[in-house]
Symmetry: none
């Protein structure tokens, strides 16, 4: 097996499960301990995962082995998100022209997209890359790159958006409230979201339960503007809203 293949497989496991032990790698890939270690060392050196005692973890994971409560909660949100994006992915059909907002939830969505006969536009550089690798026809918005979120924002991005007419759009959000609608902490990202929404026939907001009744600094859409895809809603006042799609109720 090619080294690159092996590395790819290790990264896939880590990506999926967020961590892996040396032993798991040895068993799954049928390689020696030495090789497994060497692989982790180079992958770590390339910043593709983080080598830890006994194995490795995915990037960007604040991994608290000590604090069970925290990791449990993280996992819960992750599972919730997974259900949401899994459903959202089924909404994408042949010949759709889809806008994909930057953000971690929409990024997760990409992994579940199976429809190859749709065209995508996004303002997230990582999103664009993943979509393209996925075999999707992908366009990225032009404009200023915001370093923190690796998203394209600003006047140019907004102007670039106006020529598109999307059949569907998928958006992340920081807060949802009946009064203030959809909110996010960043003004420039809000502008892009706002215009992008205007260009979509159908807007979908992907939101786990933690987002409800939370208000961030900038509103980018009224509450009715988008269909909300979420899992189980606790709050009664949202129960009766027509634009909420509850997936996989338990």
């Amino acid at each position: 097996m090619l080294i690159e293949e092996r590395h790819r497989q290790i990264l896939d496991i880590v990506e999926e499960r967020k961590s892996v032990t040396i032993q798991e790698i040895i068993d799954k890939l049928n390689i020696s301990e030495s090789t497994a270690r060497r692989d982790l060392t180079v992958l770590d050196a390339h910043g593709q995962l983080i080598k830890v005692h006994g194995g490795a973890t995915a990037l960007g994971m604040n991994y608290y082995t000590k604090d069970d409560d925290v990791s449990y909660r993280q996992d819960l949100n992750r599972e919730e998100k997974r259900e949401i994006v899994e459903y959202a992915a089924t909404l994408i059909r042949s010949n759709d022209f889809v806008y994909l907002d930057a953000g971690t939830t929409t990024e997760m969505l990409i992994d579940y997209i199976t429809e190859k006969n749709a065209v995508f536009v996004t303002n997230g550089t990582v999103h664009a890359k993943k979509l393209a690798q996925n075999g999707c026809r992908t366009y990225i918005l032009g404009g200023e790159l915001k370093v923190a979120t690796e998203a394209v924002v600003g006047a140019e991005a907004v102007a670039g958006l106006e020529k598109y007419n999307f059949t569907k759009g998928f958006f992340g959000t920081n807060g949802i409230s009946l009064q203030k609608g959809f909110t996010t902490p960043d003004v420039s990202e809000a502008m892009v979201k706002r215009v992008a929404m205007k260009q979509c026939d159908d807007c979908y907001a992907l939101a786990d339960s933690s987002k409800f009744n939370h208000i961030s600094s900038v509103t980018f859409a009224d509450f009715e503007k988008a269909k909300i895809i979420t899992t189980s809603i606790k709050n009664e006042e949202y129960k009766k809203c027509k634009n909420i799609l509850e997936v996989n109720k338990r």
Copy 2:
């Protein structure tokens, strides 16, 4: 069997399976090891796949770029490239408005840029990301994302370029020749390069010695159009060219 047919078949396998071993090629195409190797070498040189130990992988697979890891030893061009980009970086001054072409050499350039008071535009998603992380004000071109090179290409990218007026532009190239000028294997990338060059006051082509007297399929600029930054030139006919900047002669 025709060479082209063999190459086509190899590319098909790589495209389909994302990687291939030398042994597989030998078996499937019934050719000798040398020929298989030779084929991979030229396909790699043409940027149609990536040659790795034991075989080859498809482009754009996000495998680490061998550049920034510990194995500098084998890449003879690396040191040459380093000198080239180190010099190129000094050309970027305060208030410059710089276009940075996609490609591995220009990507390397980013690491040496110290001027934070310049603004950058690029069509490479990785380039944009690195520039932004570097603390530079960065814009990315909008348009279709080509998966192989992770570069933005196509009509939209070209249109987006036309509004900019750059003070300087840095370009990679696959081939340089006196007659055919600067050449690259891909048509859509050539289009972008061509227009970008038109928008720059000063164009710089970064080229290690292996690029000279090499001709790829598409010309994107005449020989005189750009200043060429390179190391020691072997070929006498280029020695007298005014637009060649030889750095760090030894």
